[in-house]
């Protein structure tokens, strides 16, 4: 367009409006999301000292004006030496994997059913899936304490029915952790599966039926393969945050429920060893790179499909 370039701040603003609109969210995320990782990375090479802040400086200026750089790799060595960290990583990944699988098995039939419901019922059911997500996560995890503890609801009911005389110990076990993870992350699995399944072309299913396939064959040959992007997206939305989960193992897990989120928290708040906590976070990030890439690819695929 043949505008005359305007002078002054207003003109600059008009010409640079587009850049400014991009720059505001971009730099906010750069400063408060991406750069912090660089800071964590830097401090993971520092030494824990008793000071405020409790870590050593990487760069020091010597008297002759030479910058000295002191990198402490010991923090990472420490993670390898102490079996606590390796078993915490391993058990976090195991717990995240198993609970993602259980969540998928619970969520799939629900998403399938909702996607096949008539529009009115579909909207009500979707709202019911989203509703718990809006109420406090912390309080919903807390609710399970009352249900699972030794004199809690489940044990009271079982003993009243005469099924058992001794209460089951469920609190402070891995079982409680699994139940609460599946419970809190169920909506994250149902929604992407639903978005995928609702787009399923019904004529494919009809064709399969017409050609004589029974409903199970149709499901395994058509519905399931076509829903793989939804399965991947949902699974990653559950798996990634669960690996670093803190609240659930802290409230429901026992002392031997090892999860890396809890280890990081204790390292930071109890031991006040910030460099080791940073190293723990960096290793966790590295472990999560592949799942995050998977998620991005699945989401990009579904965006392109939708467009």
């Amino acid at each position: 367009m043949g505008h005359k370039p305007q002078q002054g701040l207003l003109g600059w603003f008009k010409r640079r409006g587009r850049t400014l609109v991009i720059a505001i969210p971009f730099w906010w995320l750069m400063v408060f999301f991406l750069i912090p990782f660089a800071v964590v990375f830097k401090i993971s090479f520092a030494e824990a000292i008793i000071a405020r802040p409790p870590y050593s400086q990487l760069f020091t200026f010597a008297e002759n004006g030479v910058v000295q750089i002191k990198l402490v790799i010991a923090n990472y060595g420490y993670l390898l030496e102490d079996s606590l960290y390796i078993s915490a990583y391993w058990s976090s990944i195991k717990i995240a994997f198993v609970s993602t699988l259980i969540t998928l098995l619970v969520a799939y039939p629900m998403a399938y059913y909702i996607a096949r419901s008539p529009l009115r019922r579909r909207n009500v059911l979707l709202m019911l899936i989203i509703l718990p997500f809006w109420t406090s996560f912390l309080l919903r995890v807390y609710a399970w304490i009352g249900i699972l503890k030794t004199n809690g609801i489940i044990n009271n009911v079982l003993m009243w029915l005469g099924i058992t005389n001794e209460p089951f110990v469920m609190m402070q076990t891995d079982f409680a952790v699994y139940v609460a993870i599946v419970y809190t992350y169920l909506p994250f699995m149902v929604l992407p599966l639903f978005t995928n399944l609702v787009k399923l072309d019904q004529s494919l299913l009809e064709a399969s039926n017409d050609l004589g396939a029974n409903s199970l064959t149709t499901f395994f040959k058509i519905t399931l393969p076509l829903s793989v992007p939804g399965i991947i997206a949902g699974s990653m939305l559950v798996f990634i945050p669960v690996v670093g989960e803190f609240v659930i193992p802290a409230l429901l897990g026992g002392p031997d429920t090892l999860m890396i989120g809890k280890v990081l928290w204790n390292e930071f708040f109890s031991n006040r060893d910030w460099p080791v906590a940073s190293a723990v976070a960096i290793v966790m990030l590295v472990l999560l790179v592949i799942p995050i890439m998977l998620l991005r690819n699945a989401q990009n695929a579904s965006h392109e499909e939708g467009a």
């Binding site: 995320l29 169920l186 990634i240």
Partner: protein, 266 residues
């Protein structure tokens, strides 16, 4: 066809029972006379009375509401800008990076976000002297950052559904891009802005882990107070608090659902 349909309907009923049983149990036992949360000893509202006489909980609730209000409002602006830029601007330097940075906070474990932001704030303080100490401001920055990611997702899908020819027509008729945004785009995406704001508000109100890292003395949020209480076991006044939150949310969602009928899906 019939068989798999009936299996999925049974599974759905069980799934919803699983989702709602804990919430129902919280509500029922908030009216329990006994201090032993799970042994029924008659109807009572004394835990509600006790809750409203607890200055620690009331103070923390006020702090949390302030933080949630400011964070949600900032997140709406930043998240909408990010979504608009990603959906409407064809190509620009750093587009991939921006789209990566806007989705990553959705899945990034809270402990990592909390730790990294705290270390950033401390480094910034020693370099520039800002932010001086930690408290409300640092929590608001942290919450705005992860809430804007949720806003961006909600707004992005709405912008994607929107008929772009409306905006193009206005531009062709000579309207300035800023004017087109405020007169056409904004009204169309306003339902997404409302739900994005509400979602950010509840997410901020709910966050324990990130706030624990970036908070300072004198800025204990409601989840931090709740966590320190329930760590020692169940306490009936927390059930009462949970019931109040659930009722408010349920009413809010019902009002929202009747006010603006979703056209397709959600």
């Amino acid at each position: 066809m019939r068989k798999s349909f009936s299996f999925s309907s049974v599974a759905t009923v069980l799934g919803f029972a699983f989702l709602y049983a804990p919430i129902v149990s919280l509500i029922i036992f908030s009216f329990n006379e006994s201090k032993l949360v799970t042994v029924w000893a008659g109807f009572s509202t004394k835990w509600y009375v006790k809750l409203f006489q607890d200055p620690q909980i009331l103070g923390a609730a006020w702090i949390s509401l302030k933080i949630a209000f400011i964070s949600a409002s900032l997140a709406i602006i930043l998240g909408t800008l990010a979504a608009y830029v990603l959906v409407r601007f064809r190509r620009f330097l750093g587009k991939n990076l921006l789209s990566g940075m806007i989705t990553a906070p959705l899945v990034m474990p809270d402990v990592i976000i909390g730790l990294s932001l705290l270390l950033l704030f401390i480094s910034m303080e020693s370099l520039f002297g800002w932010p001086a100490g930690r408290g409300l401001t640092t929590i608001i920055i942290a919450h705005t950052t992860f809430c804007m990611a949720y806003v961006a997702v909600v707004v992005q899908s709405r912008l994607g559904d929107m008929d772009e020819s409306l905006e193009e027509a206005a531009l062709d008729l000579g309207a300035k891009p800023v004017r087109v945004f405020f007169d056409i785009t904004l009204p169309v995406i306003s339902p997404a802005l409302v739900s994005g704001w509400l979602l950010s508000f509840t997410l901020s109100l709910d966050d324990l882990v990130i706030a624990s890292f970036v908070s300072g003395p004198g800025a204990s949020t409601l989840p931090m107070v709740i966590f320190s209480k329930v760590r020692l076991g169940v306490s009936p006044d927390i059930n009462a608090l949970a019931t109040i939150i659930i009722v408010i949310v349920a009413l809010g969602v019902l009002v929202a659902a009747t006010k603006m009928k979703p056209e397709k899906g959600y």
